[in-house]
Assembly symmetry: C2
Homo-oligomer: 368 residues x 2
């Protein structure tokens, strides 16, 4: 694996050099992990002229999901009580005669930036921008395989929940049970806070579980995902509780399903982000639900559960092959509930069979 991380760092160094900075300081945890294989708490990565160094605090910790460090990378451990590793990194850059240092201005706080400036007043601080985030958009097959395993774990956890009695249980209990099942099946941890939404809550994006209990006739929507070796997939499904759904429930479900299918079918290399958003959004728009829709119809996933690209009306850019994204339209009717359907897929060229669906739980409307 070492070569993978070294190659990623080499690509970043090329970008830095093109931008006029020979050294860069990476502070955002997911970016550190992408380039170093692991990201202990407060760790930062200094990309130097000759050698790269991971600076972190205290004793090594870690659990299965924390990733293994790139053994070829020099690690410098600061005593537990020492100051900011980012400041120590700037010090090290100066000791190596660096003239400029590119930092992640979208992550570094003003106070840390100032502290770096004062230990290294002659070091010119530049902006690395989202260079690492951009490298992270297209995944290699190793990364996709982690997402695929995470999706299998997620599908299993969801399948088991559906076999259990749901009526009378609270959203919070169901969410905790899903999270326990994710870990049982081998997830590092849940990829994000599991959402379980019943009755009038159903269909709300990012709903935080409450003490409301599942009732007959409810819509029940869930959104969950496993983190596996750091990679975070996402699935969302909506069900009906009881013997048979009401007509309005079937209609709404079919509409959101059609929207989600349109979004999925739009996924292909070269298609603009906004075209995917539009494909899913216009199905809901033309049925009269333009107001109250989410600002995006999907997003990238990887080491973070929401990352680039955004599939949104104003997003700039085009899909590439090997970009994993969610497609997740939904409609929520205040007071009544609603439907969300959410899959994680990998963009693939048509010659390879088109988009690869990772989350394979059925999207039929199940009455539970």
């Amino acid at each position: 694996m070492s070569e993978v991380y070294a190659a990623r760092r080499a690509r970043l160094r090329e970008r830095c050099n093109a931008g006029g900075s020979a050294t860069a300081l990476v502070t955002r945890p997911a970016n550190v992990r992408y380039l170093a294989g692991t990201a202990p708490r407060d760790a930062v990565l200094l990309l130097g002229v000759d050698e790269d160094v991971l600076l972190c605090r205290g004793t090594p910790g870690g659990r299965p999901g924390d990733g293994r460090p790139d053994e070829a990378l020099r690690t410098h451990r600061l005593p537990g009580s020492a100051g900011d590793p980012a400041v120590a990194a700037a010090d090290l850059a100066v000791a190596r005669d660096a003239e400029s240092l590119a930092v992640e201005e979208h992550h570094l706080t003003v106070a840390r930036h100032r502290a770096i400036g004062s230990v290294a007043p002659r070091l010119r601080l530049a902006d690395l921008g989202c260079a690492v985030e951009q490298l992270r958009v297209v995944k290699d097959e190793e990364e996709i395989s982690c997402l695929r395993i995470g999706a299998e774990i997620t599908d299993q956890a969801l399948a088991e929940l559906l076999e259990s009695i749901l009526v009378g249980r609270t959203e919070r209990h169901l969410a905790l049970e899903l999270e326990r099942r994710l870990v049982d099946h081998g997830a590092d941890c849940p990829a994000f806070t599991t959402s379980v939404a019943t009755g009038p809550h159903a269909g709300r994006r990012g709903h935080r579980p409450t003490d409301r209990r599942v009732e007959e006739g409810d819509f029940l929507s869930v959104c969950l995902g496993a983190a596996y070796r750091g990679y975070r997939c996402e699935i969302g499904r909506t069900f009906v509780i009881g013997t048979s759904p009401a007509d309005w429930q079937i209609e709404l479900y079919d509409l959101v399903f059609a929207s989600q299918r349109a979004g999925r079918q739009a996924l292909a290399p070269g298609v603009t982000y906004r075209a995917v958003d539009r494909a899913a959004r216009q199905v809901l728009d033309s049925a009269g639900y333009a107001d109250g829709l989410a600002p995006l119809m999907g997003h990238g996933v990887g080491l973070e559960n929401i990352e680039d690209p955004q599939l949104a009306p104003a997003a700039m850019g085009k899909l590439d092959a090997c970009v994993p994204v969610t497609v997740e339209p939904g409609v929520h009717l205040p007071g009544r509930g609603g439907v969300r359907i959410d899959d994680t897929l990998v963009v693939r060229p048509e010659a390879d069979g088109g988009p690869e669906l990772l989350t394979i739980t059925t999207k039929e409307l199940l009455a539970l």
Copy 2:
């Protein structure tokens, strides 16, 4: 409750005015919640000359633990796709003829700071520093009562675990079960990632649970806490698995217990932070464990699970009454395991009976 938040904001305004800024922008979520009663995702609080405004994105969400907004506070909701609420707040400050704006430089990123500077080039940006964090150190009785309830929930969850079979179960399962029990008993959520450490892992501060199974003869150390109405307590205990502890286990336990008791007994208004650290630390030092000790022997708790003060050798300041802190010394012997004992207490004057212990689970060495 509204008056509580208004009074907190008035105190902060006084400090700002004394510092030369009539307006302030609070971005750190726990600080927003402290001053506004709630902190929806990305919400920021603008303390204006005449009126304070909470700026946030999109539709209201929230669950029991998210807190209720101060109804007397004006809330301004930006459309879901709108930009950074902090930038919108700066815009609003300019519209109200503010000349300077104090920001939380230790929280705000360089990029956001720059964005504020470019929408409001004439606005002088000052540093609010940790003014809100300082206000948060001394708690009112309402806050302490939330911590007390959280501690009761935590004690219950731990008591139930101790009644179950432990041998053969993994650290990760035990941690998940503790978290489920916390929520069962009414916690908003776990206050932090529950730590369960067995055998050679036991006694490690912040150990992340692994797949190691509990074995006969192990030390087992746990650290957990409930968040209740946003307030986060903490308890840590160490047990022995099996019929009777070995001599070295009893000796090490007694030592850490003596250290923790010394730390607890040192808690009183007017005592320096470092004196509390020293009281606990010197017991371990003089037994030959100076190396490898944690950088601090305790810390404040409240809306964040680690907040000011730090009970550490170089910490500046003195305890006040009504400051809740942890006392949590530990010793870890590489390859063998170790002991941590951790309580949450509230500093009280001797006339009121001295420090109030919130986490009352026994600190006898139990063999489970």
